[in-house]
């Protein structure tokens, strides 16, 4: 596989979600997301007091793309990467930490959170998640895509787009 995602499944997934929830409590962040380098959301948590988040798809895509662009800029200067990735607006900011080579941990925070705490607890969360992923786990689930799977997906596409053929 060219671009592996984190293997998050079963009990590990639940424990990672608990780590994200704890990160939000300790840092007073609004949202915590794990996104893969392609921009897909792998796991996310929202603080109970936080307003409804914007589209997570858009957020994950922009975070992953921005991170890739920053990496390319760093490499232009002979750096492996920029070690800090903080964006701060008037009300909201984001802090991004690499989670291995496959994913990113993003903490979205507002003025009620101290940036130092956000950084500290995000780094600790990354360490904890790495430990969880390194532990012995049961086998990864397998996809059982029978012959009807592809047909079912195509039928859904027909429903979405209408049955069109080459003009």
């Amino acid at each position: 596989m060219l671009e592996p995602s984190l293997d998050l499944y079963g009990e590990t997934f639940e424990r990672v979600e608990a780590v994200l929830a704890n990160l939000l409590v300790k840092s007073h962040g609004r949202y915590a997301l794990i996104v893969d380098r392609k921009g897909f959301v792998l796991a996310h948590q929202r603080a109970v007091w936080a307003p409804k988040p914007p589209s997570l798809d858009s957020l994950a895509t922009l975070i992953a793309s921005n991170h890739s662009a920053n990496l390319a800029i760093a490499q232009l200067f002979g750096e492996n990467a920029f070690h800090e990735s903080v964006q701060q607006g008037t009300d909201v900011g984001t802090y991004v930490e690499e989670l291995g080579s496959e994913a990113l941990l993003v903490t979205v925070f507002d003025g009620s959170a101290a940036l130092g705490k956000v950084k500290l607890f995000t780094k600790l969360a990354v360490e904890r998640i790495r430990e969880l992923l390194a532990e012995e786990r049961g086998p990864a689930p397998t996809l059982n895509l029978d012959e009807g799977w592809s047909d079912g997906a195509v039928a859904l596409m027909d429903g979405l787009f209408g049955k069109r053929t080459q003009p």
Binding site: E3, Y9, F13, L42, T61, E147, L156, L160, P167
Partner: protein, 196 residues
């Protein structure tokens, strides 16, 4: 390369619209956004210059629905077509599952089409991929131009072997927009089914 999230029961695919500048990549996404029902699409994100040329990418998430209990989703991206944005194009190709190559039918864009396709091959090579590895279709856009090149002529340049599905389109009028997306999506799904 698809991202399978077993816990959330989601399968995500990344489709990239590639092609030379002003060939109509963003127009494709805009038309899809306009014509797909609201519950099946997310926000469209466009990172553009002031004169509405794509600077980094356009992005549109589509939700197909559930297949075998898995939510199946397509993330559609365009790349910036202008020659000097190659770094951005390369970044967008990361983790690509399928490509729609949008070719311009204008006679004076034939060379630009060919160069864009060569550039696509070079950028895929950075990820140790070839076009042969990927679900890939060609959309021949702007067929309404009075001097549009014959399909066979463009095909002979972009696909001399005649093996790649080619779709004629007038993307600005939503003609031939859905067909290449459906075709490449189907190829992507079939590829995953073969691998599973």
């Amino acid at each position: 390369m698809s991202t399978i999230n077993f816990s959330a029961r989601e399968i995500n695919f990344k489709i990239v619209y590639y092609g030379c500048g002003l060939s109509g990549k963003t127009t494709n996404l805009k038309q899809i956004f306009e014509h797909v029902p609201g519950e099946s699409k997310g926000e469209m994100v466009s990172l553009q210059t002031e004169d509405e040329r794509t600077l980094f990418f356009d992005f549109l998430p589509l939700d197909l629905g559930k297949v075998n209990g898995f939510k199946t989703r397509f993330h559609l991206y365009t790349v910036p077509g202008q020659v000097f944005y190659n770094s951005s194009r390369r970044l967008i190709l990361r983790g690509v599952d399928g490509v729609v190559f949008v070719a311009d039918s204008a006679p004076n864009r034939l060379r630009a089409n060919a160069e864009s396709l060569r550039n696509l091959r070079e950028n895929l090579d950075e990820y140790n991929l070839t076009l042969g590895d990927l679900p890939y279709v060609i959309q021949l856009n702007k067929r309404d131009l009075p001097d549009a090149l014959p399909v066979d002529m463009v095909r002979s340049v972009l696909d001399p072997s005649g093996t790649v599905p080619v779709f004629e389109a007038v993307a600005a009028e939503f003609q031939g927009v859905v067909e290449p997306l459906k075709a490449v999506s189907k190829l992507v799904l079939e590829k995953l089914a073969q691998k599973a």
